[in-house]
């Protein structure tokens, strides 16, 4: 496994912390029927990416034409030693179909790193990662960040069926204990998960929860965090224009501490928000 340095990134050098990085594709292969893993050689600025940040990717043209806007993609792997970054993506539409056509040696134009990533509270000892579907891509670097800061990680992966559980190996390699729950046997239902997770907490207390990808998991995570008196964060998605906080297309409502709500930009104020700010969807 790559020797990944995911400790907080070195201070961005004076100048331009965000770059239109031209990355040479190392590999871009299907990992199952729906997901692909793309590894690319990246310049130094891109390698400063941190867990929870994303890149805005220019997607190659397909027979359907050139996707006009860039597409946001979370950083899945950051391997500073090898100078590589990785994205785990689900082929869904025009843009991701274009990404799937990139061959080794070709160039990916990746604007970033962008957004605010995960912030582990000082002294965190046990992290719970609760993720589902492609959202898990966002979680893999978090597991490394936690492991490197000396915290234990329990990752609970939820999926429709066992074949679709993503990131199992990546999270295990990061040192996480991996627990899988699936729809096919009912184990992913929140009512089933809650006592299971509470038992894990009783065994070894969690002090931070990170989640993404599912409204049900978000509500479960927020409920548990509240009852255990710990903090947590969630990575959110929204359709984007610029990815740079300029167009205000990517807003979502967040709850304000004093009551009321306000729009925030997923690309600039997020994509990671606290469980208390996030409103579910």
């Amino acid at each position: 496994m790559p020797d990944t340095a995911l400790s907080p990134a070195p201070e961005a050098r004076a100048g331009f912390p965000i770059e239109e990085a031209l990355c040479e594709i190392v590999s871009n292969d299907a990992v199952n029927a729906e997901y692909r893993l793309m590894i690319a050689r990246a310049p130094e600025a891109a390698l400063r990416a941190r867990a929870g940040q994303f890149f805005h990717l220019l997607c190659p043209a397909t027979e359907a034409g050139q996707p006009f806007l860039r597409r946001p993609m979370s950083i899945y792997r950051i391997d500073r030693a090898r100078g590589e970054i990785g994205f785990l993506y689900k082929v869904t539409g025009k843009g991701t179909r274009g990404l799937a056509t990139l061959r080794p040696g070709e160039t990916l134009n990746a604007l970033g790193p962008l957004g605010r990533g995960f912030t582990l509270p000082q002294g965190t000892r046990h992290v719970m990662i609760l993720g589902r579907g492609v959202g898990l891509a966002t979680m893999a670097p978090l597991a490394r960040l936690a492991a490197e800061s000396g915290a234990a990680v329990t990752a609970v992966l939820s999926a429709r069926s066992p074949e679709l559980v993503m990131s199992r190996a990546e999270l295990a390699a990061a040192g996480a204990r991996v627990i899988e729950v699936v729809d096919t046997d009912g184990s992913s239902a929140p009512e089933e998960m809650e006592p299971h997770l509470t038992a894990l907490h009783d065994e070894r207390a969690f002090d931070y929860i990170a989640t993404c990808g599912s409204n049900r998991l978000f509500r479960l995570a927020r409920g548990l965090a509240r009852s255990w008196g710990i903090t947590g964060e969630i990575a959110l998605e929204q359709h984007m224009g610029c990815g740079l906080g300029m167009c205000y297309a990517c807003v979502i409502p967040v709850a304000l501490p004093g009551g009321g709500e306000e729009y925030r930009r997923v690309c600039w104020d997020g994509p990671v928000f606290t469980l208390e700010e996030a409103m579910g969807w």
Binding site: F16, P17, I18, E19, E20, L58, G65, Q66, P67, F68, L69, R70, L111, Q238, H239, M240, G241, C242, G243, L244, G245, M246, C247, Y248, A249, C250, V251, I252, E262, Y263, W268
Partner: protein, 317 residues
């Protein structure tokens, strides 16, 4: 060494001289851009429109993509004038380029009051965004009514000594009527123009693609329309016209200038290629050199006739 023959890229917009003709379009850059490009290389930095009150903007989703265009419905999320003065202006203080504010309001009177309120030595000019589709009024805006246009510009000009620029909307029949009205009312320059009102539908879900149903069409697909309007307006008025709509490179900028624009604004392209504006500045310089022009301002209105003037052979025997 800079060669003595390096072209002079400076342009005059009313009482201002800009070091080159390239600037962002209002609402398409924010502080984030300073982390990607050297904004000091631009002719000016145009800031997002603000309103006197605090506004959240429209319901998401706010963007729909087309082949060569986007449809955005953002509304004008505004943190108000104090935020502009206390936070936005300082964020660009290190950039060596004049800052242009942009204002909008519910009444002509409030346009004037807001212009007075933000008159500040750090602001070199104020754009009147009379063109932003007022989606609540079924997409109608001040800029769709010549008298409302006149009143907004007159009130702003009366309220401030800062130069006022009028940003026209393309969602009108004869845009030259509005160009003349804005000139008479005291605008020092025109921006031609804002987004074209449009709509996007998802056939599969049978729903609109934007939370707000309607939005503004921008990007390369709109360029021929705005280029035509710039050409018409430049012939109708004496004040400088700033071309805006679908510019993605220096060549697009030069096309606008040939059609009569003195300067240009780049919008949607900033979202896809953040280096568009700085590369356009370089391209214009290279174009001048290639065409033996000593100054970029010589490009303005230099469009040549496609056919030689009709010297019809009427005197043939």
């Amino acid at each position: 060494m800079v060669s003595s023959t390096a072209p002079d890229l400076s342009v005059r917009i009313g009482s201002l001289t800009l070091k080159n003709p390239v600037m962002p379009a209002s609402g398409t850059i924010a502080e984030g851009m300073t982390q990607v490009i050297d904004m000091g290389r631009l002719g000016a930095i145009v800031l997002k429109t603000i309103t006197p009150d605090l506004r959240q903007g429209t319901l998401p989703p706010r963007v729909a993509e087309y082949r060569d265009a986007t449809l955005f419905s953002i509304g004008i999320p505004s943190k108000g004038p104090d935020y502009l003065l206390e936070h936005t202006l300082p964020a660009y203080a290190a950039c060596d380029a004049p800052l242009i504010a942009s204002v909008s309001a519910d009444t002509a009177e409030d346009f004037g009051k807001l212009a007075a309120y933000i008159s500040d030595p750090r602001i070199a000019a104020i754009e009147a965004n009379i063109s932003c589709p007022n989606l609540k009024a079924d997409g109608r805006a001040f800029g769709m009514d010549p008298e409302a246009t006149r009143e907004v510009i007159e009130r702003m000009v009366a309220a401030t000594r800062t130069p006022v620029w009028a940003k026209l909307t393309p969602n009108v029949g004869d845009i030259t009527v509005f160009a003349r009205v804005a000139e008479e009312a005291g605008a020092e320059a025109l921006i031609v123009g804002n987004a074209i009102l449009g709509m996007a539908v998802n056939a599969e879900t049978m729903r609109p693609r934007l939370g707000n149903v309607m939005g503004g069409l921008t990007g390369p697909a709109v360029k021929p329309i705005l280029l035509r309007m710039v050409h018409q307006c430049a012939k109708a008025v004496r004040i400088p016209v700033i071309g805006c709509g679908g510019i993605t490179c220096g060549e697009d900028a030069v096309e606008y200038m040939l059609a009569g624009a003195t300067a240009v604004q780049v919008g949607t392209a900033n979202f896809i290629h953040p280096h568009t504006m700085t590369e356009a500045v370089d391209w214009i310089a290279e174009y001048c050199t290639r065409h033996g022009l000593s100054a970029a301002r010589e490009i303005t209105g230099a469009l040549r006739p496609l056919h030689a003037p009709a010297t019809a052979p009427t005197e043939t025997v």
